[in-house]
Amino acid sequence: MFVLKSAFEDFSRNKGRTFLTSLGIVIGVLSVVILIAFGLGLKKYINDQFQSLGSNIIRVVPGQILRGGSFSSSSGMSTIRFDSRDVLKLQRVKSASYVIPIVTRSLLVSIGKGTEPATLYASTQDIFLALNLKARYGNIFTKTDFEKRAKIAVIGPKIAAKLFGTEDAALGRIIKVDSQNFKVQGVLESKGGGGFGGPDLDSFIYMPHTTAQVFNPDKKFYAIIVKSSQDVSIATAKDEIKTALLKRYKEDDFSVIDQAELLGAIEGIFGMLNTVLVAIAAVSLVVGGIGIMNIMYVTVTERIKEIGIRRALGARKADILLQFLVESVALSILGGLLGLGLAYIIVFFMQSFFPAYIDANSVMLALGVSSIIGVVFGVFPAKKAADLSPIDAIRNE
């Protein structure tokens, strides 16, 4: 116990030096913990986004999007495009409870002088069911609207607020999409998210694809969403969909992807990125450790005489070793705790716009790694101190 007390007395005598020495560890632990928190947040974010879409959603898209669990480089370079024949074919698949063709377009939406870029999602009325979307103000469009080709739109809350100031003010107003007028029939509930590369569902504009044919004259679909019925497995549904489409297309022409696959692929990419970043941050931890070793060498040199005195009075080599080791471990744990504290503060502020969080593992990692650094980089100076002959040490001035 006395070694701990003596270490902290020494720190309080050399506050400036103690702080600067542990700064390396502070920064190292801070960056590692923050990056891990960021990675965890990203994972949570992506998960939440997909969870909100529902788990029994299967996407049928042209081309090979995923290959071997990650995104293929040839994505989007396909030649085929789905049409109403494919939709009919899929509707006959037993395990498909909803088949929802989708046309997407990036376009400009305007009211008077104000213009905002938006993504158009043109589909059937079932899109709301499949994506768990509910109207907050007004109504979603119905089968009747779809069949009547009503010139209406249901818009996300974000785009509504951007165009009209408040979400409810958009209701019943006319918006201009590529010089065509549409009446806002409903404003959706917020699904959250957006802003970090994920789909920002709150900024989408939804309308019947029958209405949207003005933007899509060749009546082709960008993708088909299939919601499988609850009583079959996703795998079975996927197989059936594939079989149905293979009658017309080749294996490579299209992909049938479920949420888990997509999630896995996205997580794989971000996980890799995060690992690289954490590895880079870990380098600064090592640099911090070397800083501690440096200062411990200086401390040993400064205190050779004290070491000699202690040895003369009965301290064994192990006692001296322990004293310096405790000091260097305390120094790095101090840095580790400080880094962790700072990370908590930063993550706390980050949480207002991103779901980053620090888990128990990163706390243990931070403290574990900093104490290991203390031992590893403290052991050489401490050994040097312990191995001095008592009389040579005492004579040292």
Binding site: D10, K305, L313, G314, R316, D319, P390, I391, I394
Partner: protein
């Protein structure tokens, strides 16, 4: 109590020249003696004292403490002996300046492997009082006079109840008056508590106060 048998200590200097500080010394220090080792500077008297005090190991020869050969002990056992058997008093005092007077006196008790049958703090305070330093308990060594520092060092040497006090030029850094006081103190410890005392000095006036004088010159006993 302590026997040295044909003890040699030599150092290798540059260019492979070997310097022998202590040559073939055999001596015995008996329990209860007050011995002085006298010699000019460079005579090897300090080296001899370091060997007696187990701070340094001889190149050749054997040391017996209570008839036990200590040349064969490992570092931990030697540390334990330094801790319990010997009390050191140095010319430079060798107090640790960042520790208070009381903490300095207590250092040997931190490192002891045996359980003490007394309260170390109580004993330290008793020694401070006895040496007229009761008000200096919380002072730091560099804030008190040389004489006071040397008394603190003696208190530290006594905290473990050693059988032997080794004093290396204990008055060397003190004025005449303080030096005389320190010597008086060492004599009192010898007379009243029957502690064996060995003083190393170059001063014949100090040496002749001892009841046995060992003169050393060029590493050899005269």
């Amino acid at each position: 109590m302590i026997k040295l048998k044909n003890v040699n200590k030599s150092y290798k200097l540059d260019d492979d020249v070997v310097f022998t500080a202590v040559k073939d010394v055999s001596l015995e220090i008996k329990q209860g003696e007050f011995t002085s080792i006298i010699g000019p500077s460079g005579s090897g008297k300090s080296t001899l004292m370091h060997i007696i005090g187990l701070l340094d190991q001889p190149t050749r020869g054997s040391i017996f403490i209570d008839d036990k050969d200590v040349s064969k002990l490992n570092d931990n056992e030697l540390s334990s002996l330094r801790n319990t058997f010997v009390g050191f008093v140095f010319q430079q005092f060798n107090l640790i300046n960042k520790l208070t007077v009381l903490e300095n006196i207590l250092i040997p008790t931190i490192y002891t492997r045996s359980t003490l049958d007394y309260d170390p703090k109580e004993k330290a305070r008793y020694l401070l009082k006895r040496f007229g330093l009761e008000t200096k308990e919380k002072s730091f060594p560099n804030k008190i006079s040389g004489g006071q520092q040397q008394r603190v060092a003696i208190a530290r040497a006594l905290i473990m109840n050693p059988k032997l006090i080794l004093a290396d030029e204990p008055t060397g850094n003190l004025d005449t008056k303080s030096g005389a006081e320190i010597l008086k103190l060492l004599h009192e410890l010898h007379d009243n508590e029957k502690i064996t005392v060995v003083i190393v000095t170059h001063d014949p006036n100090i040496a002749k106060q001892a009841n046995r004088i060992i003169e050393i010159r060029d590493g050899e006993i005269q």
